[in-house]
């Protein structure tokens, strides 16, 4: 094969360019910390990376949604717990009031205590969380029950609060206050009980005891329902937390530069580049001219 000067020069240039562009690529991966800087760098990995990032983003959002739903449910749970405690005390008072061993002033005291407990229930019914009333029926930012133990009237439709906890899976976190405190008749029943105790209608009082126990069951069921929801959220949260860790690891695996690998590549490329430069510089200088007198 005949080797000509221009062949030497153009081959040298082509190879130097190729080496330099490989080094540039590695350098970019090292300096940015990312394997890919453009879609064409590795389209199939990019596709994987985009899917992973989207899943991570969703998992994080659902995690935040679950946080706020849990906050809401915790407040609800506490409220039901308090109501149950109060009803327990009411039952004690009713049992005592039905026994007929107390005189009139004792009974008046009992009736007074029940009135106080009713006020407490009203307060609980007006519990707010983060500026929102958890037992509101419609307008969530307005106090739902007025001091006469009635539902405050708002000219709007039902206010429904739902939180998405998984793709297309929502959980209702709002409690229907009308159902809980008006339709259940809790205030009316306690009012009646208080009057009966004060007036000494012992038979009515012992009948009312069943009502109070019924109310206790009713609110206990509500609390159990909230507990079930909390459990669901907790399971979901545990799943998302694990998913977030897994996804982050995978994103890093797919998208981040493996520094050790990249540095090794860089060293190899550098050696090749230097070899090409120095051999080129030496060989291209030599010709027969150097040896002719």
């Amino acid at each position: 094969m005949r080797v000509t000067t221009s062949m030497l020069a153009s081959n040298f240039l082509t190879n130097i360019n190729r080496n330099a562009s490989r080094m540039e690529k590695t350098m970019q991966q090292l300096s940015s910390g990312q394997v890919m800087s453009r879609p064409s760098d590795d389209p199939s990995s990019l596709s994987k990376l985009m899917t992973l990032k989207r899943s991570l983003n969703q998992a994080e959002q659902y995690g935040r949604n679950i946080d706020s739903a849990e906050g809401w449910l915790n407040v609800t749970d506490t409220a039901y717990g308090q109501i149950n405690d109060i009803l327990h005390r009411v039952a004690e008072l009713a049992t005592a009031g039905a026994s007929g061993t107390f005189n009139e002033s004792d009974r008046a005291g009992m009736a007074g205590e029940i009135d106080q407990l009713m006020k407490e229930i009203l307060q609980i019914a007006n519990t707010s969380y983060d500026g929102k009333y958890i037992f509101a029926t419609n307008n969530i930012t307005q106090k739902p029950f007025n001091d006469d133990y009635y539902l405050a009237e708002f000219s709007v439709e039902d206010d429904i609060r739902e939180v998405e906890i998984a793709p297309n899976v929502t959980m209702e976190i709002q409690n229907n206050g009308e159902n809980l405190f008006i339709n259940s008749g809790i205030f009316e029943k306690l009012q009646q009980l208080s009057t009966d105790i004060k007036d000494g209608y012992l038979d009515e009082v012992s009948n009312a005891l069943d009502d109070v126990n019924g109310l206790r069951d009713f609110f206990l069921n509500q609390r159990v329902a909230v507990g079930v929801k909390s459990l669901r959220l907790e399971t979901a949260r545990a799943r998302y937390e694990e998913e977030i860790i897994n996804l982050s690891t995978m994103i890093s695996k797919v998208g981040d530069t493996d520094i050790a690998e990249a540095m090794t590549n860089y060293k190899i490329q550098e050696t090749v580049y230097q070899a090409a430069l120095s051999s080129g510089a030496k060989i291209m200088q030599i010709s027969l001219l150097d040896y002719l007198r």
Binding site: S40, M50, K53, N138, D159, R161, V163
Partner: protein, 387 residues
């Protein structure tokens, strides 16, 4: 281009022609270009292919950078943020800061879409401009080749070899092959007949590459428009049920939806007007419905969600660019092999020339020695004999 011919026939002194014992030196009869016509033709045709791939990959590289993926400024990330904005709003619909947050994210998203569309459109217009430039360049080259060809014919008919002009003509033909494909045949008086392929139909060279890339880019533009249209329609369909305030400004021309998409002025100027619930209610039900659009397969004839569709588009652009770059690289390797082959035949090797030089110098020295020896012999005969 500097090429050496094989200019000298070796002067063997014992082959003297004509009368006398001495050689009569050397006459240059003809300088022949040492070229391989077949190789030249092959190089031209591969230059065609290289031009095609170069034109295509240059456009595609500009297209893929417009997408800004993978980065936090890419549409996929902006869409993520946008849906999250609706989620947060659905949880806290009475919180004005959540509305402002959502509106900001929506504005970032629409501006991102506008920007990408603008970049792509700019590249698209750039292609047309480049095509015009190339067409002008082709016309210039053809003119120059025609002029050279006429000169070559004139000189050839006078019996001489216009080697330098023919070299220049070959160079221009190769330049022309970068831009477009053509057919060429030599005629009997040393000229060439050249036909450039018509503008219609499949073409090679950079011109061909640009036209292929333009078609691809047209598809990408319409995909971006699809995304914008679908976003506007599905979200407005939901929000219009509330209090008649549309979230996105309605579009006048669906063909350039991605250019025009923006959050409606009413919403921007007063985010509290943004509807989030049923009727007068602001319970976040509608915000949730919008947030859930994320999971709906509304794009690509019900095949993909917004984000999946966008991912397919970006990955598609990436694969196409990668493929074009890879093929371009292969073609460059092929070209460099061919050019090496040509250099092997037509190139100058300094060592070879120097060896020849030394060889001829020795021949010259030998001749001189011959003359000196003869001179001495004659001197002996004429001046010293008979003393």
């Amino acid at each position: 281009m500097l090429t050496t011919g094989i200019p000298y026939t070796l002067p063997f002194l014992h082959l003297g022609t004509g009368a006398g014992q001495l050689g009569s030196g050397v006459e240059i009869e003809k300088v022949v270009r040492s070229r391989d016509q077949f190789l030249d033709q092959q190089i031209r045709s591969e230059t065609n292919n290289l031009g095609l791939l170069t034109g295509q990959s240059e456009v595609l590289q500009r297209v893929e950078t417009a997408f800004l993926e993978p980065s936090e400024h890419g549409i996929s990330n902006l869409l993520d943020e946008f849906w999250n904005g609706w989620q947060e709003l659905s949880k806290n619909p009475e919180d004005l800061s959540m509305r402002t947050n959502l509106v900001e994210k929506a504005v970032t998203l629409t501006q991102g879409i506008n920007q990408i569309y603008g970049h792509l459109e700019y590249v698209y217009e750039g292609i047309d401009q480049r095509v015009q430039e190339i067409e002008k360049e082709i016309a210039n080259l053809v003119d120059s080749i025609d002029y050279l060809d006429k000169q070559i014919i004139r000189i050839k008919t006078s019996g001489q070899e216009p080697n330098d002009l023919m070299d220049r003509r070959d160079l221009m033909l190769e330049e022309l092959a970068k831009y477009t494909d053509f057919t060429m045949s030599g005629n009997e008086n040393g000229g060439i007949d050249l036909t450039i392929k018509p503008a219609q139909g499949e073409r090679k060279g950079e011109l061909g590459g640009l036209l292929v890339a333009k078609e691809d880019l047209g598809n990408y533009l319409s995909k971006v428009n699809d995304l914008a249209n679908q976003l506007i329609n599905s979200i407005n369909d939901i929000s219009v049920n509330g209090n008649n305030i549309q979230f996105f400004q309605p579009i006048e021309d669906e063909a350039i939806a991605a250019k025009q998409i923006r959050v409606s002025n009413e919403v921007i100027s007063d985010p509290s007007k943004l509807t989030t619930g049923v009727g007068d209610n602001q319970d976040g039900q509608y915000a949730l419905a919008v947030a859930q659009l994320r999971h709906e397969k509304t794009m690509d004839n019900g095949e993909a969600t917004f984000e999946e569709s966008w991912q397919n588009l970006v990955v598609g652009v990436g694969s196409k660019t990668k493929e074009a770059l890879r093929r371009q690289e292969n073609q460059e390797v092929l070209m460099s092999h061919l050019k090496n082959r040509r250099d092997e035949i037509s190139g100058v090797s300094i060592d070879e020339e120097l060896v020849n030089m030394v060889k001829f110098q020795y021949a010259f020295q030998a001749s001189s020695k011959m003359i000196t020896t003869l001179d001495e012999m004659l001197d002996t005969i004429i001046n010293r004999m008979g003393r």
